[in-house]
């Protein structure tokens, strides 16, 4: 993964790029929801401040800093899981092999994410899984120190707080553990055990961290609270359905159904070995729970099913390891050869690690060979050293930005989606020319106007449309962005009643590309 990240310093998806941009703006002194408008809760921006700071400190592309940060998270997550597995869970070598399979799955699913690498769903999985392992160990009666519990609980809490939907996964896992424990506990002791397993440092840490995050909203400047809770949250609650899709498209479309078939396969493996390895079932509960938030959001966007996908991959890897154990046991059945069995399992673990390492090296080499044959983009163009495969930034918008703007110049994309404004804005080191990083909010308001009933609250929300257009005009006037891209479809329609061209008098139309009209500033300040 590290090799891949270093070979692709500019590779990033649109949503992570947007969050990273917000983090950069915060690092530069901006206020969320005042100097940048987006509906997402701010925790991911706070988290992304780390790569943003690293980027400015080390003068490396912020995308590279972000990807390195993700690698660090991968390392942290898998190390913590391995620590819990080795020190708390694996009472025998069979268990160790299966648990290592689970950790391999936790690492392996990341390789399939490509442009969804760095989404909040992935970060949640990485931060939550050590907690899942630890909670499982707790219910198994493992001795856990407070320090370990607080560290892992805090990380899990950060993961869960990234999106409120993730709480459902955590609740399902906890329910699984509680019900599993109540089945095993001796009668009478179960209620006491139940409280003893629930009122533990990792849960307190997770709760405290979540409460701290909630409490921080009270201390934010009034303008932030007004914009976020007074406008963005209620508007999106009423109109986010603009992007809704159908159940058929969410589950059965050819590009999405694979994840759900994987889930069925994961269930087969988890159930086949659940009597021996309950952790497999626990991971399966996490994976299936991931389907509910995906459908609650109902957008059918592939990244939203990452928890389900990750869970399925983890269970399948663990299940295959369990299958391997069963085969080995089948081959050496003699009770006298327990030591021999143990030796074989340990050797298998080592072989597995060697195989993974070898596989990774071969993959890295293949990727290197592939990159070598591709055209490169010289990073000195944007003030960094090194180069990056051009395919990572290849888009007609990037071509225009590179031709007409310098690093740190300002650019505005007025479109009703995060793409295509992002990732090029983040990748090419240009700054957003407006506090409105995209105009999704205009589609939301249009939906409220078209579909929702006329209520005082909806009318209040709709009145914000004038303010948004005014703010666009103010930002253009103040920041003088060198390029403005206006979406020909929905966005142009939303702006048409305001005669938006009046704000573009200093601009000349230079191109019509991929559904957008590009305008260039004629009198540069």
């Amino acid at each position: 993964m590290l090799v891949s990240v270093l070979l692709h310093p500019l590779r990033i998806g649109w949503d992570p790029a947007l969050h990273l941009q917000c983090a950069q703006l915060i690092v530069a002194g901006g206020l969320p929801y005042v100097d940048m408008f987006d509906v997402n809760p701010p925790l991911i921006w706070y988290l992304d401040m780390l790569p943003a700071l690293l980027s400015s400190a080390g003068n490396i592309p912020v995308t590279l800093a972000f990807n390195l940060f993700m690698c660090l998270l991968l390392l942290l997550s898998s190390s913590l899981c391995a620590y819990v597995v080795v020190s708390k869970l694996s009472c025998d070598s069979q268990n160790l092999l299966v648990n290592l399979g689970l950790i391999f799955g936790l690492l392996y699913f990341n390789f399939f994410l490509t442009f969804d690498f760095g989404q909040r769903e992935q970060i949640f999985v990485l931060l939550y899984f050590p907690f899942l392992f630890l909670r499982f160990a707790r219910y198994q009666g493992a001795a856990i120190t407070s320090g370990e519990a607080v560290l892992i609980g805090t990380l899990a809490s950060i993961g869960i707080c990234l999106k409120h939907y993730f709480l459902f996964n955590a609740i399902c896992v906890e329910l699984f553990l509680i019900l599993g424990a109540s089945r095993e506990a001796p009668r009478g002791a179960s209620r006491k055990e139940w409280w003893r397993n629930l009122l533990v440092p990792e849960n307190f840490a997770a709760l405290a961290c979540a409460l701290l995050y909630l409490a921080h909203f009270f201390f934010l400047p009034q303008a932030v609270k007004d914009n976020y809770f007074g406008f963005l949250v209620p508007a999106f609650a009423a109109g986010y359905q603009f992007w809704d899709t159908s159940l058929a498209s969410s589950l059965a479309a050819p590009d999405k159904r694979g994840v759900f078939f994987l889930l069925s396969l994961a269930a087969l493996l988890a159930l086949s070995f659940s009597h021996r390895y309950a952790l497999l079932s626990c991971c399966a509960a996490f994976a299936f729970a991931g389907v509910v938030p995906y459908l609650l959001q109902f957008k059918g966007w592939a990244y939203q099913d990452i928890p389900a996908f990750a869970g399925a991959v983890i269970v399948i890897c663990g299940g295959l390891a369990a299958l391997l154990v069963a085969i080995i046991e089948g081959v050496i059945r003699s009770k006298k050869s327990i030591e021999k069995q143990s030796a074989i399992f340990t050797t298998s673990c080592l072989c597995l690690l060697v195989f993974i390492a070898g596989f990774s090296l071969v993959n890295a080499r293949e990727e290197y060979e592939k990159i070598k044959g591709e055209p490169n983009f010289d990073l000195s163009t944007i003030g960094y050293s090194g180069d990056s495969p051009y395919s990572d930034i290849d888009s007609p918008f990037a071509t225009i930005i590179l031709a007409h703007a310098k690093p740190h110049d300002r650019v505005i994309f007025i479109g009703n989606a995060v793409a295509p404004g992002f990732p090029p804005t983040t990748q090419l080191r240009v700054k957003p020319g407006s506090r409105h990083l995209h105009c999704c909010i205009l589609s939301v308001l249009q939906y409220i106007k078209d579909v929702r009933e006329v209520t005082p609250e909806n009318s209040r929300l709709l009145s914000f449309k004038d303010r948004i257009v005014k703010e666009y005009a103010e930002d253009i006037e103040k920041n003088k962005p060198v390029l403005i891209f206006v979406q020909n479809g929905p966005a142009a329609e939303y702006l048409a009643p305001y005669n938006f061209n009046q704000y573009l008098k200093q601009y000349k139309k230079i191109d019509d590309v991929a559904g957008y009209t590009a305008y260039e500033l004629q009198v540069k300040s």
Binding site: F176, L177, P254, F260, S264, S272, S274, A289, R333
Partner: protein, 560 residues
């Protein structure tokens, strides 16, 4: 009566009451049937009349499903009762047989059977709740598979846990036979057998040869495999042309229908939104999962629920009936788990023991009388409720050539047009890209469909021309030509359709391009068009799930 036999008694009671309730309901609603089941039944009627599937009529169901559907049709021919009524009552009987087989497997004095005996009411309750919730889907392929395969799971649990009494070979063989019938309904169901056996294999603990022979290769598995093999062989020998047609173009069309997603379904409200089913499945599954590790039966139910989820996704259209397996099995798994949780709770155990003792003391010698009385009461009350809830006027089925009666409201959309423009046994074409509204109407009104039973290949063939590879198009070109030639011949034959309803838009354009519309214009007169959006139609009939855009149908009646 001790506490365990009390559990058996409760399970029997539930099973009999459920069957009586269902029988009462369907003896009044004699024409109530879901579209897919009606379509297969219609094919069964044609098979009973001597037609060969895929050769004399075209449908995409498995040949076994079609031949099995001919059983109620044959019986209907003998006793002149509507095949839908017979079909429904046969499914009720199947439900009863299936539940009794499950209950019988819990009979015995072995203390090791205690666990199963305690769980039996939960299983029967799960089946009852599922069947009642999906009453509108009664008789669907998934319901049949669910009922046929359920005893097999219980039997496998007994065998793997070494609880299987050696003397009950006949019952085990019957369970295996029923499971094989279920598996043959749809080739995808065969995966369920593989999954169940995979799980059972690793539930043995150490896989020694002796254990494998004694516990794994048991009567029900052998009977199931033997039936699968025998029926396949029988079909291959008796009707090789049917098999080759099914494995040729029909299989290919099914495969391509899966491959090419209908993009219209990406839009909101263009396909059923049954997220509630998925949510219920996930919650049931997750709650049952902790118990799966220690109870093989719960594990098997969870496994089947997960298989049902895969099947739901695989269906592509995500209709309610396609979610039956995931809901029914996950509900049973949840109830099994709940019964274990209740058992773990001392106060609940004491309370249930007291109820059992109280009931046992009073029912001991009057069980049979009580059961008979309760069954009659259930049947009568269900019939009365069915009459009271029935909408629309009743009509005699004598005009269709059957004894009995039906309700106007039970008929499907466009019944008025079809009744006015055709008579029983007439051929009627109702073509759209989906099964409704052609079915259940044609089966209900005893009309015969065209060579193409419903428009299953139309969308795929159309999409194929837009997105398919040259090889794929060439492969199916002969099939497409034959299809339209047969339709043209049928329209010009001595037994032409008396009425033709064609969906506006793509189906209409397709028929026009292939020259069928020209024949219709020459030999048919247009009558008032029908629309599923018509207020009268909506008010007079039960709603049905629809894919894509609801559009009207042109209606043309044959010149006299």
């Amino acid at each position: 009566m001790n506490k365990l036999s009390f559990n058996l008694f409760i399970a029997c009671l539930l099973a009999l009451c459920l069957s009586a309730l269902l029988a009462g309901w369907f003896s009044i609603h004699q024409l109530l049937i879901p579209a897919e089941a009606a379509m297969r039944l219609c094919c069964g009627v044609q098979i009973a009349d001597g037609a060969r599937p895929y050769i004399d009529f075209l449908d995409n169901s498995s040949p076994f499903a079609l031949y099995l559907s001919s059983l109620p049709a044959l019986l209907s021919k003998l006793i002149c009762i509507h095949p839908i009524t017979i079909f429904n009552l046969m499914v009720v009987l199947l439900a009863l047989v299936s539940l009794l087989l499950v209950i019988r497997s819990g009979q015995g004095l072995s203390p090791r059977l205690k666990m199963l005996q305690f769980c039996l009411p939960a299983i029967v309750l799960g089946v009852a709740l599922s069947l009642i919730y999906f009453l509108n889907c009664f008789g669907q392929e998934s319901v049949l598979f669910f009922l046929l395969f359920l005893p097999y799971l219980t039997q496998r649990y007994l065998s793997i846990s070494a609880l299987n009494p050696a003397k009950k070979r006949l019952r085990s063989a019957m369970i295996g036979f029923l499971a094989a019938l279920g598996l043959l309904l749809n080739p995808v169901f065969l995966l369920a057998l593989v999954a169940v056996e995979f799980t059972c294999l690793f539930s043995l603990g150490d896989i020694s040869l002796a254990k494998l022979k004694r516990r794994y290769l048991t009567t029900e598995l052998v009977a199931c495999l033997f039936t699968l093999f025998l029926l396949s062989l029988l079909l291959l020998c008796l009707v090789p042309s049917v098999v080759s047609e099914y494995l040729g173009p029909i299989w290919r069309i099914n495969q391509l229908s899966f491959e090419y997603f209908n993009d219209d379904l990406s839009y909101v409200d263009k396909s059923p939104d049954r997220r509630d089913l998925v949510y219920a499945f996930v919650v049931f599954f997750v709650l049952a999962l902790p118990l799966a590790g220690c109870c093989l039966l719960t594990r098997l139910m969870c496994l089947m629920a997960a298989f049902g989820f895969g099947y739901f996704v695989f269906s592509g259209t995500l209709f309610s009936h396609q979610g039956i397996l995931m809901i029914a099995y996950s509900l049973i798994a949840l109830l099994l788990a709940s019964s274990r949780y209740i058992r773990a709770c001392r106060s609940a155990k004491v309370f249930s023991g007291q109820i059992a003792a109280w009931c046992s003391a009073r029912l001991n010698k009057k069980v049979v009388v009580f059961l008979s009385l309760l069954v009659v009461v259930c049947f009568v009350s269900s019939s009365v409720a069915a009459v009271k809830l029935a909408k629309g006027s009743a009509f005699s089925l004598s005009e269709l050539g059957y004894y009995g009666f039906g309700f106007e409201h039970d008929l499907s959309f466009f019944s008025k047009t079809v009744k006015e423009a055709s008579t029983a046994r007439d051929r009627v074409w109702i073509y759209s890209e989906q099964i409704s509204p052609a079915f259940p109407l044609l089966t209900q009104l005893r009309r015969k469909p065209g060579y193409l039973v419903w428009g299953f290949p139309l969308r795929t063939l159309k999409v194929l021309h837009e997105r398919g590879t040259p090889e794929q198009i060439a492969q199916l070109a002969r099939f497409e030509t034959t299809l339209y030639d047969r339709l043209k011949l049928e329209a010009l034959s001595a037994y032409p359709p008396a009425l033709i309803l064609l969906e506006d838009g793509e189906v209409h354009d397709l028929f026009k391009a292939k020259g069928i519309t020209a024949i219709i214009e020459q030999h048919y007169s247009p009558i008032d068009s029908c629309s599923p959006l018509n207020g009268d139609e909506i008010a007079s009939h039960n709603p049905y799930e629809y894919l894509g855009f609801r559009v009207g149908f042109s209606a043309d009646k044959r010149h006299k």
